[in-house]
Symmetry: C2
Subunit: 472 residues, 2 copies
C-alpha cells in the first residue's frame, strides 16, 4: 500500500492536483521507482476515500508528464526517472516535430505484434506484397475515410512509406513546373519539389492559415505560368501551428477551383486536436472530389514504422502506384499489418485519447511558458493541436544567431529561416513541444526567454551606445 | 508412435529416400495431417533402427518439398496439405522471383520479433530514425562486409527500403544520360532508369554473363557519349540465372576501369549458391574501391520486410543518404531491428543453410524437368544458384503467344520479351523456380513441355501444309 499523506478537500488546489503533486514528488524523490506498479485507480480511491475519477485524473496528468505509463489490463507503471544531482540539466530539444517516446504504449504495441505474428497468415505478411499496400489495411483505411466523407466512390488509396514518400511520388507523377506552398513551410515538402526543379511560390502564413488574398493575387498575376498545384496543411501546420477556419477552407476551394489548381492536403496532424472541435478537411468539403489527401499513423503512434497513405481520384492513384513500384516495390508489410491490428483492436483510438491529454498538457505548458518568459514584444502563435508553435522575437533579434548560445545551455530549436520559401524571417523560430515533458518545456522556454531577453537588452544597450557614439 | 513399414537396406533407393517416400505418402494420403508433429529425429531413428542422419536427411527433403517445417526446439510439423480430388490441379506460378512462403521459418521469426519488442530500448526503435539506417544494423552489415573484403575503410553503408530503392536513389543522384545494362535485364532496373529518361544500352547475356567483347565494342564506339555506369548481377542473374566466372569478373573490371565506367553490382542472389563455391564479388576484386555493391535480406529471408543496403565510397553514400531523406525519411525501423536480431542470433545463417537445401532440390527438379519435358531444340540455362532459369524455345514458337494457353492449364511464367532491352527474343521465357515445391515444378514444366511440343507440331504441320499449298 502506498503511504500517501492525507489530501485536503478544503485546499484551493483540487484533489486530483494534490494527488498528482504527492505522486510526482514520490517519483522524483525516488520513493517510487521506474518499473514500480501504481495501485489500481479503484484501490487507491478506496484507500484514500476519494472518487475514482479523481485518481484517474491524477494518473492522466502523471502520464502526460511522462512519469508513468498505463498498460491496459496490467495497470500503470512508473516510467519517469527520479532526478539525481548527477544527471545535470536535461537537454531540451524543441527541434523535432515528433511524439515523445515516453508516451509510446509499449505494452500494447508488444501485444499487437504478438497477435500479428501468431496468426495463421503470418507467412503471407512476410512474403512480397502489393505496390498498392497490404490489402486489409487499404480496405480498413478507405472504409474509414468513406464513413467520414473523406473518400468518394471515385477515390482510391495507396499506402506509402510514410507521408514523405507520398509527396515524393506526387512530385514524380505530377512533375509540376511550379507549386504553391505555405511560407514558412515544412522542409520535407520544400526539398521534394525544389530538388525536382519545380519553382516554389510561397503564400504567406498568418495565424489562420495561408493568406487567401495573396493566393488570389498570385493566381491572377501568373497568367499562363499559373501553378496547378497547391500543398497545404490546414490543421496545426508545421512549422507555425496555424489552423484554417472553416470559412477559409471554403474560400480556398472557391479560389483554387476557379483557377484549376489541385490541392494536396497534408492532414498528418489532424487527429491531434487538443482544443475545440475538429474542422472538416478540405477533402471532405471539396465537391469536385479532386483534392489529394495525405494521412499517416506516425504523428499519433509509432513514427519509426513508416506507414502513410494517399486518398485521391482513382486515375491518379493508379499512376502513383506505378511510381511506387519502381521506387521501392511496396511498403513494409510487417509494419502495415501491425498498425492495422493496432487500429482495428481499438488500441490506436485509446492511445490517441491519451495523446490528446498529453498533448494538451504540453501545449498549455508551452503557451504558459511563452507568456511568462518571452521578452516583451515577442509574439507567438496559439495552436489548438499538433506539435509546433511559432515565435517571432522583437527586432533586431536573429534566432539563428542566438541558437549556439541556446545550445550551450542545453536547449535547441529550429530557426525560422530554415522554413522560409521567399520571406526569411530571421527573428522567428519553431518550437516543437510534443516530444518533451511539460516540465522540460517550462524549463527549456525559461532558458530561451532569459537568453532572448539578455540579447535584447544588449542590443538596446549597443543601440544606445551607437547613438551616443554618433553624437560625438 | 508413427506406423511406418520397414525399410529395406538392400533396395537400390537409399534409406533416407525410402523414409522420405513413406512419409510423403502418409502426408499426401492424409494419415499425417497439417499441424501434426513428426517424431524427433533421434526418436524415429531409434524406432526404425536407423542412423539419425538418415532421418535428418529425409526430413530435409520433406522440408524442401514444402511438406513439413522444422522449428528449432519444437520439432518438425506437417505443413503440406494432403491432396484431395476436390483441390484440382494446383496453379503453378513460375512468374515471381521470390522464395516459397512454405520455407519461411515462422517460429524463429516469431521468437526474433518477441525478443526485439521485449527489449528495454524498444521505444527508440519505434521513434523516428536516421536516414542512414538503424545504427546497430549498419554497423553489423558494414563490419561483415569489411571482414569479407567487400567494404574498404573509404566505404560507407546506407540502409534502403529494399534494393529497388537503392537503384532508384542511385539513378536520382547519378542521373546518368546512358546506362549499360544486361540484355535481358530485371524489369525493376530497366524501369528506374528508363522512366528517368536515361538511354539504356543492353549488353547481350550469355550463359556466363554479359558479352565482354560487345561491352568493349560499345565503349570503343560511343566516344563522347560513352556511358559512365554499368548495372549488373554477376551471381545467378535475373532473368537468365547466368553467373560470371572469375576470369570474366576480372576482365570486366579491366574494361570498365580503362573506360572510366562505374559498376553497380546487384548481389541479392549471391547468398543462394547451390552448387560449387561462391565466387568473389566484383566489389571484392575491385582494387580502385569504386564499385557500388547492393545487397538485401529479401531473397534469403522475408521479402515483405523491405530492407536492403548499398556499400559504396563515402562521398556517394552521403549523397544517397540525402536523397533517401527526401524520398521517405528513413527505412522502417521495426523491420531493421528484427532482421538485425535474426542475423545476429545466427538464425539467418541457419535458415540460409535450409534455403540452400531447398533451393538445390528445386533447381534440380527444374533442370530435370526441362531435360525431360521440353521439346527437342529447346535450350535452357543451368544456373548454380538463385531463383531463375531461362528457356529458349525452338523457332517459330513465341512464348508470349503461348502464355494464355498455359494459363488456362494453370501454369504461368514471364515471356522473355518482358526483359528485353533492345533484343526481343520472342521464343524465350523466364522460369522462376524458387517459390514452388519440386513436385509443382515437375508438374508445371510437364504441362509447359506438352503445350510447347503441341505448338511446335502444329507449327510444323502448318509449315508442311503451306509448302504443299505452294506446290499446288
Amino acid at each position: 500500500m502506498l503511504s500517501i499523506s492525507p489530501l485536503d478537500p478544503g485546499e484551493k488546489n483540487p484533489l486530483f492536483r494534490q494527488l498528482f503533486d504527492r505522486l510526482r514528488e514520490m517519483i522524483e524523490s525516488g520513493s517510487l521507482r521506474r518499473g514500480d506498479r501504481l495501485p489500481a485507480t479503484r484501490e487507491l480511491a478506496g484507500q484514500l476515500g476519494l472518487n475514482r475519477t479523481t485518481v484517474s485524473a491524477a494518473y492522466a496528468l502523471l502520464e502526460s508528464e511522462g512519469l508513468i505509463a498505463g498498460h491496459v489490463g496490467r495497470g500503470s507503471f512508473v516510467t519517469g526517472r527520479a532526478k539525481s544531482p548527477a544527471d545535470g540539466p536535461a537537454p531540451a530539444s524543441f527541434s523535432r516535430s515528433r511524439p515523445s517516446e515516453l508516451l509510446f504504449p509499449l505494452a500494447e504495441f508488444r501485444q499487437t505484434c504478438a497477435e500479428v505474428i501468431a496468426r495463421d497468415d503470418a507467412a503471407s505478411i512476410l512474403q512480397l506484397g502489393s505496390p498498392s499496400g497490404y490489402a486489409p489495411l487499404r480496405r480498413y483505411l478507405l472504409d474509414q475515410a468513406r464513413d467520414e466523407g473523406a473518400a468518394r466512390d471515385s477515390d482510391d488509396i495507396l499506402i506509402t512509406s510514410g507521408c514523405q514518400q507520398a509527396f515524393d511520388l506526387l512530385q514524380r507523377m505530377l512533375a509540376p513546373a511550379a507549386v504553391l506552398v505555405e511560407d514558412p513551410v515544412y522542409l520535407g515538402v520544400r526539398n521534394v519539389f525544389e530538388r525536382a526543379g519545380a519553382r516554389l511560390i510561397g503564400v504567406p502564413m498568418h495565424d489562420d492559415g495561408i493568406d487567401l488574398d495573396q493566393l488570389a493575387a498570385i493566381l491572377a498575376n501568373t497568367g499562363n505560368a499559373r501553378p496547378r498545384l497547391l500543398c497545404l496543411t490546414p490543421n496545426f501546420q508545421n512549422p507555425t501551428g496555424a489552423t484554417m477556419p472553416l470559412a477559409s477552407r471554403q474560400a480556398l476551394l472557391r479560389i483554387t477551383q476557379a483557377a484549376g489548381v489541385t490541392v494536396i492536403e497534408n492532414d498528418i496532424y489532424g487527429p491531434l486536436c487538443y482544443e475545440g472541435e475538429p474542422l472538416p478537411s478540405i477533402k471532405q468539403l471539396d465537391e469536385t472530389g479532386n483534392t489529394i489527401l495525405l494521412r499517416s499513423f506516425s504523428k499519433v503512434a509509432f513514427p519509426g514504422l513508416r506507414v502513410g497513405w494517399v486518398i485521391a481520384p482513382r486515375p491518379l492513384i493508379e499512376k502513383l502506384t506505378e511510381a511506387k513500384q519502381w521506387s521501392d516495390l511496396h511498403t513494409d508489410q510487417l509494419s502495415q499489418a501491425v498498425l492495422l491490428r493496432f487500429a482495428e483492436s481499438g488500441r490506436l483510438e485509446r492511445h490517441r485519447e491519451r495523446m490528446l491529454v498529453a498533448g494538451r498538457a504540453r501545449l498549455n505548458a508551452a503557451l504558459d511558458a511563452c507568456e511568462k518568459y518571452l521578452p516583451a514584444g515577442a509574439k507567438f502563435t496559439r495552436p489548438r493541436g499538433g506539435m509546433n508553435l511559432w515565435i517571432e522575437l522583437p527586432e533586431p533579434l536573429d534566432a539563428a544567431d542566438l541558437l549556439p548560445r541556446a545550445e550551450r545551455e542545453g536547449v535547441t530549436y529550429l530557426p525560422g529561416r530554415y522554413f522560409a520559401v521567399s520571406r526569411p524571417r530571421p527573428n522567428s523560430l519553431r518550437i516543437s513541444f510534443a516530444g518533451m515533458t511539460p516540465e522540460e518545456i517550462r524549463s527549456g522556454l525559461a532558458t530561451l526567454g532569459r537568453i532572448f531577453s539578455d540579447a535584447l537588452n544588449s542590443a538596446h544597450a549597443a543601440h544606445s551606445f551607437s547613438e551616443v557614439a554618433a553624437l560625438v
